[in-house]
């Protein structure tokens, strides 16, 4: 972990269309090659990992809700400059409390190059529920199994390879506090972004009746926005009656993400104001 905390040179990439959306969310991506988001349940050590990677001092605390705003920082790995975004912790992407919306909107509309889902090794079941949901939205996912030291203390053995196999995305065991495993984690992130690792996210199908309804909607969505990466997830959200997704659909915001064109009126950008210190 020696090469991650360098000061970053500046060079703009205003023409990179993938970054326009992020620019609108109040994130300056000009100086960075890649954007990585940190998602996960509350209290899994996202902010700790963020601090370890960026050398910044985002406050951490052992209670759910410590991070309610988004924090950003940068680091460098293998000559690539990464922008890291620390999102508020969420139990799921389904309910619509304010902090969950911040996280959900970012993963969906911000289109980060990769999303690291930070999990607590001592309560995997609960954490994997969120991993499965994030994998519905994007296939650029790396799972970080954090708090391995705690797991050891509690006499738990976690087999990261079994997780990788089952989930279809890399799962790396780390201890954010000491930095153990972080190099491997970043390697996996780079590989996923560069396509050296092709992920095959596991999809949960639900009841046959539900599956049938989803299958009816997916082609319609794909027809409206050809090449959309997460039509299945959108179909599920539409069936669920997710107001935010419905709005994105009828305002054409979704289609625009796909064609990656600049839009002037992204209303939700205002909501995501970046507040540094808390």
């Amino acid at each position: 972990m020696t090469n991650t905390k360098t000061i970053l040179p500046t060079e703009h990439c205003e023409t990179c269309p993938a970054f326009t959306q992020l620019e609108q969310m109040g994130i300056k991506v000009g100086d960075f090659d890649r954007v990585v988001a940190l998602a996960g349940n509350p209290n899994t050590g996202k902010s700790t990992l963020f601090n370890t990677l960026t050398g910044l001092k985002q406050h951490t605390g052992n209670w759910p809700g410590k991070t309610v705003t988004r924090a950003e920082g940068g680091f460098e790995f293998n000559k690539m400059r990464y922008k890291l975004v620390d999102l508020p912790g969420t139990y799921s992407l389904l309910s619509a409390s304010q902090d969950e919306e911040v996280a959900r909107d970012f993963i969906l509309f911000g289109q980060p190059s990769c999303t690291i889902v930070v999990c607590d090794a001592t309560s995997l079941e609960r954490n994997l529920n969120l991993v499965l949901q994030v994998m519905e939205i994007t296939e650029h996912v790396v799972v970080a199994i954090n708090l391995m030291d705690e797991a050891k203390r509690k006499g738990l053995e976690v087999d990261a390879r079994s997780l990788s196999r089952d989930l279809g995305v890399p799962a790396i065991a780390i201890t954010a506090r000491t930095g153990d495993g972080i190099h491997t984690l970043l390697g996996a992130v780079a590989d996923v972004i560069e396509g050296n690792i092709v992920t095959k996210p596991l999809r949960v199908h639900g009841t046959p009746e539900f599956q049938k309804a989803v299958n009816e909607l997916v082609p319609m969505i794909e027809q409206m926005a050809p090449g959309i990466p997460n039509a299945r997830w959108l179909a599920i959200r539409l069936l669920d009656g997710d107001a935010r997704v419905q709005k994105a659909l009828s305002t054409g915001e979704l289609g625009d993400i796909v064609s990656r064109q600049q839009r002037a009126d992204v209303q939700f950008s205002a909501k995501m104001s970046v507040e540094g210190r808390q």
Binding site: N43, N62, W63, G65, R126, L132, L217, M220, S250, E275
Partner: protein
């Protein structure tokens, strides 16, 4: 394909699905997660939650839960009070010493009196006061508090206290936001985002100020040490002083409940909403990180912010005190003019003037007050030591025990500082609530101090 068509299709499909399909989605996600986790995790032993469980039973149990909570609070405050006392005097001696030296130096090189006065008796003196009053308690309080936070104790407090909040129509997570308020009320207001119900979130925002923040703690500690504890044997002073501060904090908690209850019966009518709270496992705090964040990051940050307001405030006071009108000066005249109202509240004009000047940051109340008192010619140097302060206030300016107690109450209850008001506005996006937060707290402060003063006078205590 039109967006509207898709929406209509989704709606018709939804109506055909059986009603519990949402539950089914989540259930299938969890079932899958459970299977994957089962394959990946092996328990080497089955002592899993043993230690955690034992601690939890202790800190939440019906018999020991609340006492432990009170003890921990008292311990942190005692540590702060007694520790601060040790360092505070040293820092004061050094800083005021530098002031004397600087003044002498300026005189020597023949600076005009008003430059010397403005810089050393105005700006510098105010800064020296802020640093010597604020730095020591913060240096001890922040690490101690962060330790508990990192350990995972705060959610247990919320667990223990929730029933009371429910009875007042508020949300249990309000204890978490109050805990943040000890550090800084503005941070406490931002932390209310963890409360989902808008009504309960507003209650938490409006009442957060009843928790004394770090800017007000030094005032409380100083008054408790100098006045309340002074008449006790020296061995007991730190305990008495800490006990007094704990008492004030508890009064603040009481007012939080009272205000929450009144709000949820009047302006923010409604019943308590759903409350779910995860109690995370305890984690060994990372001591070096705690020391770093709480001292370098928080203490220096807060202190720097306080100094930024203290410097201009010092300048203003000095100018006011040096515009002479007849026998008196402007600062004195304003203070005299405010005096009748101050006395009505058991305070005095100087205290009110200090509060007006300290609107941007509560931290500078004590420095401002001291400078006005000293500007009246009692003492030129900064007093070092508690007995000197006692002397200045009681013999020089007619303070009584009532003044000290009422000032503590006033410090606890009065309006939020400018930063907090601004944060409230930003979080609620409404002038109405921001204004209410000021009116409500200030009203309470006036009313309570007026009542205690009247009562004390009625009983012939003051």
């Amino acid at each position: 394909m039109e967006a509207n068509e898709i929406l209509a299709k989704a709606e018709s499909l939804r109506n055909d699905l059986s009603t519990g399909f949402r539950d089914e989605i989540v259930k299938s996600l969890y079932t899958e997660a459970e299977n994957i986790a089962k394959r990946a995790v092996k328990a080497a032993t089955d002592k899993k939650y043993d230690l955690d469980q034992k601690i939890d039973r202790l800190v939440t149990s019906p018999y020991t839960g609340l006492p432990i909570m009170l003890l921990l609070l008292s311990f942190v405050i005692w540590l702060t009070v007694s520790g601060a006392n040790v360092v505070s005097n040293g820092i004061a001696v050094v800083l005021f010493g530098i002031g004397d030296y600087g003044r002498a130096l300026f005189d020597q090189i023949g600076m005009p009196w008003w430059i010397t006065g403005f810089i050393w008796d105005g700006v510098y003196l105010s800064l020296a006061w802020v640093v010597s009053v604020m730095l020591p308690p913060m240096m001890i309080f922040f690490p101690a508090f962060t330790f508990l936070e990192d350990l995972g104790y705060l959610p247990r407090v919320a667990f223990n206290m929730d029933w009371l909040f429910k009875k007042t129509g508020a949300h249990g997570k309000q204890s978490l936001t109050m805990a943040m308020g000890f550090g800084c009320n503005a941070a406490g207001v931002i932390a209310t985002r963890v409360i989902d119900s808008p009504r309960e979130r507003l209650i938490a925002i409006l009442t957060n100020n009843f928790v004394p923040c770090n800017g007000r703690f030094p005032t409380l500690i100083m008054l408790a040490t100098v006045f309340v504890a002074a008449s006790f044997p020296p061995a007991l002073t730190s305990f008495i002083a800490a006990g007094t501060v704990v008492g004030v904090v508890l009064i603040g908690v009481l007012f939080t409940f009272l205000a929450s209850w009144i709000l949820s019966k009047t302006l923010l009518k409604g019943e308590a909403s759903a409350f779910t709270l995860e109690l995370p496992p305890y984690r060994r705090p990372n001591i070096s990180r705690i020391l770093y964040t709480s001292i370098i990051d928080r203490t220096i940050f807060v202190l720097w912010r306080a100094m930024q307001t203290a410097a201009p405030a010092g300048a203003i006071i000095w100018i006011l005190a040096n515009i002479h009108l007849g026998d008196s000066n402007l600062a004195r005249m304003i203070a005299d003019w405010l005096n009748p109202f101050g006395l009505l509240l058991g305070l005095d004009g100087v205290i009110l003037l200090a509060y007006i000047i300290a609107i941007p940051a509560n931290e500078i109340v004590v420095p401002t007050m001291m400078m006005v008192y000293m500007g009246a010619g009692m003492m030129i140097n900064g007093p070092s030591g508690n007995s000197a302060i006692f002397d200045l206030l009681v013999n020089g300016n007619g303070w009584t025990m009532l003044t000290a107690i009422n000032l503590m109450l006033f410090a606890l209850l009065h309006n939020p500082c400018a930063t907090t008001i601004l944060t409230i506005y930003k979080e609620t996006k409404s002038y109405k609530w921001a204004t209410l937060s000021v009116v409500m707290t200030l009203g309470t402060a006036f009313l309570v101090t007026f009542l205690t003063a009247s009562f004390a006078r009625l009983m012939g205590w003051a």
